[in-house]
Assembly symmetry: C2
Homo-oligomer: 340 residues x 2
Amino acid sequence: MDERKQRILQAIVQDYIESAEPVGSRTIARRHDLGVSPATIRNEMADLEMLGYLEHIHTSSGRIPSSKGYRFYVDDLLPSKPLDEEEKALIDKWYMERVRRIDEVFQETARIISHVTKNVSLVLAPQMTQAAFRCLQFLPLDDRRAIAVLMTDAGFIENKIVDMPDGAAFEDFQRMALVINGCLAGHTLDAISPAVMKNIREEIGDESLFEAAQEVIHRSLDTGKHERLYLGGTSEILSQPEFHDVEKVKEILLMFEEEQLLKDILHAHLGEGLKVTIGKENEVRGMQDCSLMTATYHLDGELLGTIAVLGPTRMEYGKAMTLLNYMNGHLADVVKKFRW
Amino acid sequence: MDERKQRILQAIVQDYIESAEPVGSRTIARRHDLGVSPATIRNEMADLEMLGYLEHIHTSSGRIPSSKGYRFYVDDLLPSKPLDEEEKALIDKWYMERVRRIDEVFQETARIISHVTKNVSLVLAPQMTQAAFRCLQFLPLDDRRAIAVLMTDAGFIENKIVDMPDGAAFEDFQRMALVINGCLAGHTLDAISPAVMKNIREEIGDESLFEAAQEVIHRSLDTGKHERLYLGGTSEILSQPEFHDVEKVKEILLMFEEEQLLKDILHAHLGEGLKVTIGKENEVRGMQDCSLMTATYHLDGELLGTIAVLGPTRMEYGKAMTLLNYMNGHLADVVKKFRW
DNA sequence: CGTTAGCACTCAACGTGATGGAGTGCTAAC
DNA sequence: GTTAGCACTCCATCACGTTGAGTGCTAACG
């Protein structure tokens, strides 16, 4: 793969991303100053096709990049492009004006991403399982039930109704809360070990109360895992010519409805930094014509969640990458403003 | 509008709903046993068009119903069709198997509606503003803040961080809670009158504490108003031939993204029982080719929320109506199971 | 030996015209 | 009032020729 081939591949991918039409040797020669004639480019293109970087619908149509072609482009040929100052300002203004509560941060983040990239955006809101336990408190509800309120370090609160075992009084629950708070403080919710549980058991003493505690912890964590996904710009894909086919759109909308599936996908990419999955590299049916770019964001070293751009394989990788990188850093600052 | 005209109109609407193609006099004569020849039907159709119930793309295409035609059909000609026992069983099973927590009820309700009607469904989850106040409790957070936990009769819980005024101790807040609980019990959240507030003021005595109370009530209610909307079956509209045009689909998807708009629409129909808005009767741009059927559901006489079906004007009104009526009654039972 | 011009060939896209079918509207007969 | 008959309209479809973009190959060039 000599330099000229790379430049030609780059030119083809860029032109195709822009025009959405198969690109021919003549166009490349005209638009990019490669110093060679269309005939030479044709020869190189034939080579690139042989190597698997380009595809051909039929003789006499131009070439389009294959998944492998895009992959090479993304990994080695992507021109770095800093974000417009203008766009940065827009983003700041957007957050300033529209976000009032912490849960609006993610909704608006999704909006911004889809607005800037003209693609679908996905934002997986911070996950309590990754957050550190802060405290658990009980409120009396009636003589058989109490409300458990769980707080994490990152400042999220969840609540849950719990049954009190026969014979237990609300005071027992308050004592239980003290024990649990003492033992669990600082632990992340998904790393509560048997050892810690044993500790709690010993401190509580009473067996039936410990069972209740177990139940409470279990159910509280269950709520905590209930992470939220925000989707933005779903209508944007319709602007892309490759999705003028209603069948394809339907497949994608169907995928959007399967929230759990999307969450799982984003989950799988958690903690991997910025990652691009191109076309057929995606295993999920319906995403084979798409590329997914994901990034995970942190707050003081603590993993928070995932933001992603979903578009056609023909998406503007450079722009999306720049944006995600920017949002990545920025999001922590915005969240911090709402932290206590 | 004599009886024969009505029967012909009914036949045309039904056939058009089924086939999505303009219907001609011959088809009507063949498929419906009206005892008259196509020529007679043609004459009647010309009359119906004159009266505004039918439309005509060009000479020599069949007729399609106008908004007025659908309106008459829905109001006067709709054959009542009870729900299949089979479908009822399916719905029960669905709720049984998939719903574990109260907030999943609405998600699944949306799924069921879109699955049965093959259209988009909307479910506005119970609104705390309409719910009766049950109690408010505080939990200490640090020395300047507390967590306010608000509960309603219908069993929904919301929480919110509140600042404590300088000099106020957590004990003051607990006293405040007692007063507020005493005064507000049983009131619906959107009907807290100045008189009640005055009462609270007198009982609290301390002025700066009352201001804090006001702030707390205000902010808690603010959270309470934060109702949720569930959307289901968005991909279903793509199956309808009238939405094979990508531009139209785009307009609708765009509308789906404007959650607040949808909430407002459903809100406007709150408490009106079952209501159908047909085609151009809709004021919202993008919904002019659609019909919206809404119904509000109750729990022990208390208004809970709205369920709706959104489809092309050509939707199966009879089926949608039957289903919404059934869900209407059923939903209360399902919610009741999670009530305490 | 790499590069280039030239040329034949391929294929999609487009416009054109012919054809058929579904449906209407009108008129005259029943 | 109802119906059969008929001329007319319009859409959908297909076949057909044309055009233009693009390739692949070959032979000439520096």
